[in-house]
Subunit: 330 residues, 2 copies
């Protein structure tokens, strides 16, 4: 379809080498020849075939990103940042979306590898040693964002455990008598990567150990609203706050509470995690934890490229700062 260097050479009656020199400016070319070549290239919309070029010198200058479930919005916010940071360093970013299926994720990662991405960023859904081996067998620089897979693979994250502990501190300081931790189904542990939630849960439990005077409960199910209802109606006068491992859980509870004509924070306290961008449209402002999505994304790119560039690279665990956002729902 598109014109090639060879064809230009033919049209101009010169060799490809000359055409390339005129186009990419290596050596010297006679003025007239050069002009003619450039003109022909222009007229025919010449545009280099990057596949061929990459094949040749073994570099694609492209990074791959595997995104989960766009609807959840977690991670999506990072995409812009990743894109810009990569571009600054001369890399093109290819994003693929993975709709919550473990197989798809593997398939996509392999697809990116086969397309010779020089490095891949994932917020992995898979986990375990088999997946670890799979990733390692690719022999491609990889950076995990958020969820950790193994110590052999660089992960960029915030200290989720400490964040959860701080969150509990904040809630406790507001004189709640009961704190309920809401997170995704815990049954999937061992199958699906819920590392960040596990870390937060650990932090929650540790903090509750300190505040042993407080009641606590963990709700980790798909259908969690019945539990919320049970908890609130079981002991209506007890001041209860929900700490949700993910803003979307908090928003769901908020929605439910409002339908029941309950006021937040008067009737119950609510706190989320991640500070997803939708929150700007929600009032009262949700108290939450900023897990520094942009910062994490930027760091991931930097680290990935460093990994690409270095001969000897040893995997790291990069921990960034989180921030407690004390807003209006506690």
């Amino acid at each position: 379809m598109a014109i090639t260097v060879n064809q230009i050479a033919q049209k101009c009656g010169v060799s490809r080498t000359t055409v390339l020199r005129a186009l990419n400016g290596g050596g010297s070319v006679k003025k007239e020849t050069k002009e003619k070549i450039l003109q022909v290239a222009e007229e025919n919309n010449y545009r280099p075939n990057l596949l061929a070029r990459s094949l040749n010198h073994g570099r694609t200058m492209s990074l791959g990103v595997v995104t989960i479930n766009i609807e959840n919005m977690y991670f999506v916010q990072s995409l812009n940042t990743i894109n810009k940071e990569a571009d600054k360093r001369g890399y093109f970013t290819n994003i693929v979306v993975c709709d919550e299926s473990l197989e798809w994720e593997r398939k996509l990662i392999r697809g990116l590898a086969e397309r010779q991405m020089e490095g891949i960023m994932i917020n992995p859904l898979n986990q375990g040693s088999e997946f670890e081996e799979f990733l390692l067998s690719l022999h491609i620089p990889i950076v995990c964002i958020g969820n950790q897979v193994s110590e052999k693979i660089t992960t960029v994250q915030v200290n989720e455990m400490a964040a959860a502990m701080d969150a509990v501190e904040l809630i406790a300081s507001k004189r709640y008598e009961q704190i309920v931790f809401v997170c995704p189904p815990l049954e999937v542990q061992g199958q699906q990567n819920i590392y960040v939630h596990e870390q937060r849960l650990k932090g929650f439990k540790a903090a509750m150990g300190i505040h042993c005077g407080l009641h606590s409960e963990v709700v980790g199910k798909k259908e969690f609203l019945p539990d919320i209802e049970r908890i609130l109606s079981g002991n209506p006068e007890r001041r209860t706050a929900f700490l949700c491992s993910g803003d979307s859980y908090a928003l769901t509870i908020k929605q439910w509470g409002e339908k029941k004509n309950m006021k937040i924070p008067e009737d119950f306290g609510l706190m989320g995690f991640d500070d997803i961008s939708v929150l700007q449209y929600i009032s009262p402002k949700l108290t939450t934890v900023s897990t520094n999505l942009e910062g994490v994304a930027a760091a991931a790119v930097v680290e990935l490229i460093q990994q690409i560039d270095s001969e000897e690279y040893s995997p790291k665990s990069i921990i960034l700062n989180y921030k407690i956002l004390d807003r209006d729902t506690l």
Copy 2:
């Protein structure tokens, strides 16, 4: 880094042809040879270099998608659908994000073309004949989603004008006395592609021509809240509804109204456009128009692939159904 067919051939003491036959299963290979080859390939994690393969037979089986401003969420919802539909037909989907810059968009499109995407989907930010020429000069199948660029390039959309008219009908039927149309800054017309908003505005004006007893106004500025305030306070007893060309405008107004302790729909009516996924977290439920993001996305993929497959293709304009969602803010 990764092992190649040639290397496998060497290791096994056969020719590449034989290796390929064993791997891809063309002709027949002696059992032992085949086993050995497969074993070596397995051990060394052989994985075909798709760049080379593509270079060879001129097909990449990849589609490119250019997404705008992820934060806005419009279009983002389509990504999953695009991905799945493309996969069904054997195509890999590469997404790139464009952060609201006209130059970036061009750069990304060119990048996708140079990487030999077989087709590209865009919700274009650019517009005008120069951009049209740019796209055509690529000589690559292209489908525009939502915003139209020109009749020479296939566009998939809903009938925005009719949708806006229906929206006005709905509002009028609820006995509002004034309808205000809120849309992005109109100054950018001619520079930036706001085709869908223009269509909706046309529909709005046409419908208001029919309902000439009603007051109407158009607000198209970046900072529109002052106008909202002016309109509402200027004539407080006049029943006013805002028809927003985009749910995010509606959410912003809703947010503002609630801060002022106004009730919706008691104090003013509110209607959006697009039915973005965030709405699930918002109450009262926003009345809006479903612009059938998933349907549009699916149709775009089908059309793009058809364009790729056919020798003779003439650009079309594909119009899908929209749906008025009469919910709780009118």
